[in-house]
Amino acid sequence: MTDETASLRQEIKELIVRELDLADVDPSEIEDDAPLFGGGLGLDSLDALQLAMAIEERFGVAIPDGDGGRVAFASVRALADYVTAHPKE
C-alpha cells in the first residue's frame, strides 16, 4: 500500500470522526474494511448524507444516491478507492 493510499484512508477516517461527531472514536482505530453502515460505528442514512456532502467538499467527488453510493460507502477502503477512481474534474 502506497503512502498516498494510507494517508488518504487516514484522512477519510478523520473526516468521518469529525463530520459525524464521533467524539469517542479514535480515527486510527477504524478498520479499513469494517462496514461503515450496519456496523460498530452505528451510522445511519443521515450520516450517509452528511458524509457524502463532506467527501464532495473535500475531494470534489460526488457520491451518487442509491446503489452506486452504497458500493462506495461499504468501507473506508471502498470510499478511498472510489475517491481515487473519480478524480476531481
Binding site: L20, D21, L22, L46, L49, M53
Partner: protein
C-alpha cells in the same frame, strides 16, 4: 360538570391552489395541481425547482396596511387566513376579543430574515431592519393576529415540525375542553424560504418534479407554503349564537416515536399508536371512519410507514379506506400542514366528497389504501381523520365527526390534580435564588459544565448545544424523579424555547450562500427547527408521551409549564416533563439591543435549561413519589402586544387564584414593579391592596441570577416549587411577555 364539545365554525385558507377557502375547495374537487416553478428565490443548485408557492400573493388586497406593518410573509399568510376564518364564523366583537390564539409554525420570519442572518453571521455590524427582528420569532404570527383583530385572550405558539398546525388545533381544543376559553382561532402558517428548501434538498428528500404521494415512482416531497386558521368553539356557545359548525373535533392525540430526528419508525408502530389513541379519545371505532386525510409526504419512508400504521389500526379494511394526501396539490406546508389539511378534511366533510391525491397514478403496492385519483369522489363523509407525522417522530392525529353524533368521551371534562415531584436544571440555580442569595451580577449565567461529558457520546452525538442543554436538564429531572429507566416510555415533554438555534441558523445560511446548496449540511438542518431540542430529548430518554415545543418570548417557560399542567389536568397525560431551554446567542443580543428590546437595566441575556416533573397526583402518590408542591391554579391571559401588562397580569392571577390567596411569595421572571403590584393586588380576598395579606408576600425575581434569557420562566417555576416545599405555604409565579401573562398558584403538598 357540563360536557364540553369542540366544533369548528369558521375556516380560512391560503394555499398554492387557492388563496381563499372557496377557491381551495374547488381545487380540491377538481384535483387542481399546485406545485410549480418557485419564483420567490433562485433555486439553482437545489434538488428541486418546484414547490407549492402561493403565486401572486397580495395580502394588501385583503388586509388594511396597518395590520401588515412589520410582518413577515409567514405572518401575512396567517393574517389573511385568520381574517377569512373570523368572517366565516361571524363572531361578534365581544366574542372575538376573548378568543384564544394558537398558531403552529416552523419558519416564522425566516423567509424575510434569512439573507440578513447570513450577512450578520459574516459581519456583526450588518444593518437589519427592525421589522425583521420583530417578525422573526415564531411567536410573531400569533401576536400579529391578536393585534390585527383586537384579540385579547390567551395566546400560544407551537412548533412540532410537520405536525405544528395539528397540535395548534389540538391545543386550542384543550383550552376549550378545560373551560379556559369558549372559542379560539387555531391553525398554522409557514412561508417558503431558502433555509428549509436547502435543508430538505440536503436531506435528499425533495422530488425534482411535483411530488407523487403513494405512487410507485415517487421520489420525495415537494415543499409548499400557506396558512389555515380554524375558528374552534365550544358547541353550546356555537349553537347559542346560531353558528353552523362544519364538524366536531371529537378527538386528537399527540405522541412521540422517540426513534430518529428525521426518519419515521418504519414499522408504523408509532403512528399506529397515535391513531389508536385519537380514535379512543373520539370514542369511535375504525370502521366508523369514512376518510383519512393522510400525512402522505411522498417520501420513500413515510408513505409505506403510514400504510402500515393504517393497516395495523384498520385491519384489512384499510386497503379500501378512502384516503388522499393534500400534499399532492399544495406540497408540504410544514407548520401550516396540519391546519391546511384539517381544513381540506372539513371542507370534504361538508361538501360530501373525498379529494384526490394529485400526482398519484400508479399506487405503490406497499401502500394499499383506498386511493382516490384524478378528481374528487362524491361520498358522504361523516367521520374523518387528519394525520400529521412530524420530523423527530411527532405523531398527531385529529378526528372529526358530525356535530349531531353522540358526544365523545373527550367531552366529559376532567379536572385532575397536578403535582410537582422533581426538578432538574443546568445551571442549577433554584436553591440559591430561593435561599435569597445575592445575584452574581454581570451578564447572566452561562452553562459552564461540559455538556458532552454529561451525556452518552453515541446517543447524544447528533445534538447541538441547545439540545444538549435541554436533554441534560431532562436527565436531571428524570433522575430526581425516581422513575426507573424502564418506566419512562409513556412520559412526555413540553419544552419552551423562543429563539432556538439562532446562531447556527445564521451560520447555515451563510454557508448556503457562500458555498452553495450542494454543501448545505444535512445533519445540521434538523437541529435548526424549534422542535429539535424536545425531539432530541425524547429520543435520548425514550419518551413517547405527548411532545410539544412552545414559544412565547420571555414567557416561553411559563407557557410550557401551563400547557403541561392542562394536559395532565384534562387526562391527556399522566406525567410530563415541562420546562424550557435557551442558549446564549451573540446575534440575538445584538438584534435585541438594536431593537430596543434589551429589557430593563444592564442585565445580560445568559442561558440555561430547567425542567420540572409534573404528574397526576394519584399516580404520584401511588408510586411513592415525593410531592414537592401541588398546582392550585393556572392563568393564561392575553392583551394587545403593546398594551400595559399590569391588567393582563392581573387577569392571569385572577384565573389562577379566583378566590384570592395568602401567598408567601411571588416569584417572577423580572416583571416591572407596576406589573407585580397589580398581580399581588388580586390576591387579597375581595380584591384591593388594603386587605393586608399580600403586603407580606416576598417578591423574588430570578432575572438577576439567570439573566434575561427566555427560558427563565422555567427557573421561576422551579424556585417557586422550592419555596413551597421549604415554607409549606402557597407561592404564586408570574411570567410576562408582550401581550401575554401567565400565572401559576403552587400549594403545599
Amino acid at each position: 360538570m357540563t360536557a364540553r364539545r369542540v366544533v369548528v365554525s369558521g375556516i380560512g385558507v391560503v394555499s398554492s391552489v387557492g388563496a381563499d377557502r372557496t377557491t381551495f375547495e374547488r381545487s380540491l374537487r377538481d384535483g387542481l395541481p399546485g406545485i410549480r416553478r418557485v419564483t420567490l428565490f433562485d433555486t439553482t443548485g437545489y434538488r428541486s425547482a418546484v414547490a407549492g408557492e402561493v403565486a401572486d400573493f397580495r395580502p394588501g388586497d385583503r388586509l388594511p396596511a396597518a395590520a401588515l406593518r412589520e410582518t413577515s410573509r409567514t405572518d401575512a399568510l396567517g393574517l389573511v387566513a385568520a381574517a377569512e376564518a373570523l368572517e366565516d364564523a361571524a363572531l361578534g366583537d365581544a366574542d372575538r376579543a376573548d378568543l384564544a390564539v394558537v398558531v403552529g409554525g416552523t419558519t416564522g420570519g425566516m423567509p424575510d430574515a434569512e439573507l440578513d442572518l447570513a450577512a450578520l453571521h459574516r459581519d456583526r455590524s450588518t444593518e437589519v431592519p427592525l421589522s425583521r427582528i420583530r417578525s422573526h420569532p415564531l411567536s410573531s404570527t400569533a401576536d400579529r393576529v391578536a393585534e390585527a383583530f383586537g384579540i385579547q385572550g390567551p395566546r400560544a405558539t407551537v412548533c412540532t415540525a410537520c405536525s405544528s398546525g395539528a397540535n395548534a388545533v389540538g391545543m386550542a381544543a384543550r383550552l376549550i375542553r378545560t373551560g379556559r376559553v369558549r372559542a379560539a382561532l387555531a391553525g398554522g402558517a409557514d412561508a417558503l424560504c431558502r433555509l428549509t428548501f436547502a435543508g430538505f434538498s440536503a436531506l435528499a428528500a425533495l422530488d425534482p418534479e411535483a411530488c407523487r404521494p403513494f405512487d410507485r415512482s415517487r421520489r420525495g416531497l415537494s415543499l409548499g407554503e400557506g396558512a389555515a386558521m380554524l375558528l374552534v368553539e365550544d358547541l353550546e356557545h356555537a349553537i347559542g349564537r346560531g353558528a353552523r359548525p362544519y364538524a366536531e373535533l371529537r378527538g386528537f392525540a399527540n405522541t412521540a416515536e422517540a426513534h430518529h430526528i428525521t426518519n419515521p419508525l418504519e414499522s408504523g408502530a408509532g403512528a399506529a399508536r397515535a391513531l389508536g389513541l385519537a380514535l379512543a379519545d373520539a370514542g369511535i371505532a375504525p370502521h366508523d371512519v369514512d376518510y383519512v386525510n393522510a400525512h402522505g409526504t411522498a417520501t420513500e419512508l413515510n408513505d409505506p410507514m403510514e400504510a402500515l400504521a393504517l393497516a395495523e389500526v384498520f385491519g384489512p379494511g384499510s386497503s379500501t379506506l378512502p384516503c388522499s394526501s393534500t400534499k399532492g396539490q399544495v406540497g408540504h406546508t410544514l407548520g401550516a400542514a396540519g391546519a391546511v389539511e384539517a381544513a381540506a378534511t372539513l371542507l370534504a366533510m361538508r361538501g360530501g366528497f373525498v379529494p384526490p391525491t394529485v400526482g398519484l397514478s400508479d399506487p405503490d403496492p406497499a401502500c394499499p389504501l383506498g386511493h382516490v385519483m384524478g378528481r374528487a369522489k362524491d361520498l358522504p363523509v361523516r367521520f374523518a381523520l387528519s394525520n400529521s407525522f412530524g420530523f423527530g417522530g411527532n405523531d398527531t392525529v385529529l378526528v372529526f365527526g358530525p356535530p349531531d353524533a353522540d358526544p365523545p368521551p373527550s367531552a366529559t371534562p376532567r379536572r385532575r390534580s397536578v403535582v410537582v415531584t422533581a426538578r432538574g436544571a443546568i445551571p442549577d440555580l433554584a436553591n440559591a435564588i430561593a435561599s435569597g442569595d445575592a445575584p452574581p451580577g454581570g451578564s447572566g449565567t452561562r452553562v459552564t459544565e461540559d455538556l458532552r461529558a454529561l451525556l452518552h457520546p453515541a446517543r447524544g452525538r447528533r445534538m447541538d448545544r441547545l439540545s444538549r442543554m435541554a436533554t441534560v436538564a431532562a436527565k436531571r429531572a428524570l433522575d430526581a424523579s425516581g422513575i426507573a429507566q424502564g418506566d419512562r416510555s409513556t412520559v412526555g415533554l413540553v419544552l419552551g424555547t423562543a429563539w432556538g438555534s439562532f446562531d447556527r441558523s445564521a451560520a447555515f445560511m451563510d454557508r448556503l450562500l457562500t458555498r452553495g446548496p450542494r454543501f448545505a449540511e444535512p445533519a445540521e438542518f434538523p437541529n435548526l427547527l424549534a422542535s429539535a431540542p424536545a425531539g432530541h430529548a425524547s429520543i435520548y430518554h425514550g419518551l413517547t408521551g405527548p411532545n410539544l415545543s412552545v414559544a412565547a418570548l420571555d414567557a416561553s417557560g411559563d407557557l410550557a409549564v401551563a400547557v403541561a399542567a392542562l394536559e395532565i389536568e384534562a387526562g391527556a397525560a399522566d406525567l410530563l416533563l415541562a420546562g424550557a431551554a435557551e442558549e446564549t446567542s451573540e446575534l440575538v443580543e445584538v438584534l435585541l439591543s438594536r431593537a430596543g428590546l434589551g429589557g430593563n437595566g444592564a442585565q445580560g441575556r445568559g442561558e440555561g435549561a430547567a425542567i420540572a416533573v409534573l404528574e397526576e397526583e394519584g399516580r404520584a402518590v401511588a408510586r411513592g413519589a415525593r410531592v414537592e408542591a401541588r398546582i392550585g391554579g393556572i392563568g393564561i391571559a392575553g392583551g394587545l402586544p403593546d398594551a400595559d401588562l399590569a391588567p393582563v397580569a392581573a387577569a392571569a392571577v385572577r384565573q389562577a387564584c379566583p378566590d384570592g390567596c395568602d401567598v408567601a411569595a411571588l416569584v417572577h421572571s423580572g416583571a416591572a414593579d407596576s406589573v407585580t403590584a397589580a398581580a399581588l393586588a388580586c390576591l387579597g380576598k375581595g380584591g384591593g391592596a388594603g386587605s393586608g395579606c399580600c403586603g407580606k408576600a416576598k417578591l423574588v425575581s430570578v432575572e438577576g441570577h439567570t439573566g434575561r434569557h427566555e427560558a427563565r420562566g422555567a427557573v421561576v417555576f422551579s424556585v417557586a416549587t422550592n419555596v413551597v416545599a421549604r415554607e409549606r405555604r402557597p407561592v404564586l409565579t408570574l411570567g410576562v411577555a408582550p401581550g401575554t401573562a401567565i400565572a401559576c398558584l403552587l400549594l403545599p403538598a
